[in-house]
Symmetry: C2
Amino acid sequence: MIQPDRRKRITIKDVAQAAGVSTQTVSRVMNKVSYVSEGTRLRVETVVENLGYRPSALARSLIQQRSYTLGVVTFGLKYIGPSRTLNGVADKADELGYMLLMKELDNFNSNRIDDVIDSLLARQVDGILWVAPEIGDNHSWVEERMEKTPVPVLFLAMRPRDGIPSVATDNFKGAVMAIQHLLDCGRKKIGHISGPLNWWEADERKRGWRETLQSAGFDASEQHCTEGNWSSASGEQAFIQLLELFPDMDAVFVANDQMSLSVLREASRRGICVPEQLAVIGFDNIPESAYFHPSLTTISQDLQLLGEQAVQNIVEMIQARQGSQSVVPQAVFIQPSLVVRESSRLA
Amino acid sequence: MIQPDRRKRITIKDVAQAAGVSTQTVSRVMNKVSYVSEGTRLRVETVVENLGYRPSALARSLIQQRSYTLGVVTFGLKYIGPSRTLNGVADKADELGYMLLMKELDNFNSNRIDDVIDSLLARQVDGILWVAPEIGDNHSWVEERMEKTPVPVLFLAMRPRDGIPSVATDNFKGAVMAIQHLLDCGRKKIGHISGPLNWWEADERKRGWRETLQSAGFDASEQHCTEGNWSSASGEQAFIQLLELFPDMDAVFVANDQMSLSVLREASRRGICVPEQLAVIGFDNIPESAYFHPSLTTISQDLQLLGEQAVQNIVEMIQARQGSQSVVPQAVFIQPSLVVRESSRLA
DNA sequence: TGATATTATGTTATCGATAACATGTTATCG
DNA sequence: CGATAACATGTTATCGATAACATAATATCA
């Protein structure tokens, strides 16, 4: 692979000229379509090898109106959730031969949203994955905007909406499993430290707590729940507050593992034995939670799978559209699972 | 913004026709270069608005030989380090008007590396950021390959090499600070739990431990160090092993916070008081470390800044090359800082 | 006041590939 | 053995924009 001048790009013309054929023939060799005689094919392949020719994906995208690229809009990449999801997205995209064009969002201003979508479309992405949490009404534009978007858009971790494709963890179900587990352990006075309640996911988890307790005939009043913002710092505050509101609580369902960490610490400081006096269950199953002291019972959500599933679905939509077929947009739920560890286990 | 047929892209020709001008004039209006009379400018702008015209970045990249896109090659996105770095990269790229084309690496097979670089080049990226750790000789191709790469490539978290631009945390310096701090606290028997020693970063941290102890006249023999693989699970094993090798240790420098977590837990289980009997210091300053029990003294590395700096530097290189200037490739070190918390603080 | 600069706009070539169409040659078959 | 199919290759148009060049009208200056 010799590249005489490293600055100048080697084009299909250079190859054609060197091999004494037309550019079309080179194109045929590269794409292995149509007929090319054994002799010329070998000759062209040799030249390609010698010159180190790589076709310009850019030019190809332009003429084919197809880029084999997915736009990915993320938010809060520095947190573990989005990045694990992105990992799944990246893996699957690679497997299916797609590249990712990324944009990070720092706010949900609607101008900014339009800009981001437009900038992805300007680069001919074949589809868009929206990897940003649903907070307040920051997804209110979805239904209207989707009407006029020329490529499929799939939303992750969004409340299911009719006619809009999405993939999300079943947060409600996860919370139900958490509470059910605590009830199975014989706990009856179960508090909750929620995430920020304008987040759809936090709200779902709280709803799981409330409804499961109520249908089992137990109390799930507002006095038994305080609100954090997902951070360990906020978890500490929320726990202290909850202890005052609900002193005889015998179990607490915490909306994520980070907040659970500080609950465990504060409990230890106050001499509250976990799990004997207080069972603690988290959500997410971050790798560290197995090494908390005591190790944390939690609800595991498979964000890797979430990301993979999202790519799989959007690629199917792209292919369907390519063949002018229509696919019915689906809202998919990924099921979480319960991981029992020391913080809820009776000795 | 009315889009009559959502499927068909609106091109500069449509705008030109509707406004009764040439495409060149539309281009001039869009790019605000050269002369356009007030009248036609307004007319064109109105049409652009009405048709909802967005120029194709693809076509522009092709003609300008410039895409305003950076290729980003990552590894191990699911871990917190790479994703925090990526966050910094994304922020800065956005600020400077660049998009990111991502490829995740799952191994360091040299074919795979060539493929990844080629696929980015095929899309005309203006530069490449290599966000993958240096493990063993997995960067041995760097010097040779860089010769023939037509765009700047910058490496993150790589051992500095002459003539190759890079940005990395000064791991050695961080380790020195950690050990110095322990010495300042009066500790004399300081053990180390390292990361996997084929990682450059792990090796640097260990070197900092060894050299600082030695130059202070203390023992830093191999008996006082065990090796983990960054995970909490491995940290537990490494700590147990270290306790046997070095029973009268009074402090331990752990190569990352995840492993520190299980050190703290195991110490607690064995009734070893931290920090009275054993001071513990970590590395990374993950957000949770402030909520460990006891809270963890650690070396903070600013990966967000690392990512930002990398983008800043590569964009400067791109601009220099644009103007045919030459820049001397720099190897930049980001300085870490010490965060003192309970796990090393004497009461 | 003619020469030069500034303003304003259009025409043609180009980026690097593939699509669509055209054409010639060799097999295959009724 | 002429017609049709399969093979092999080339030519021209195209994707959507900007660069480079050209032209014409107005403004400015020595």
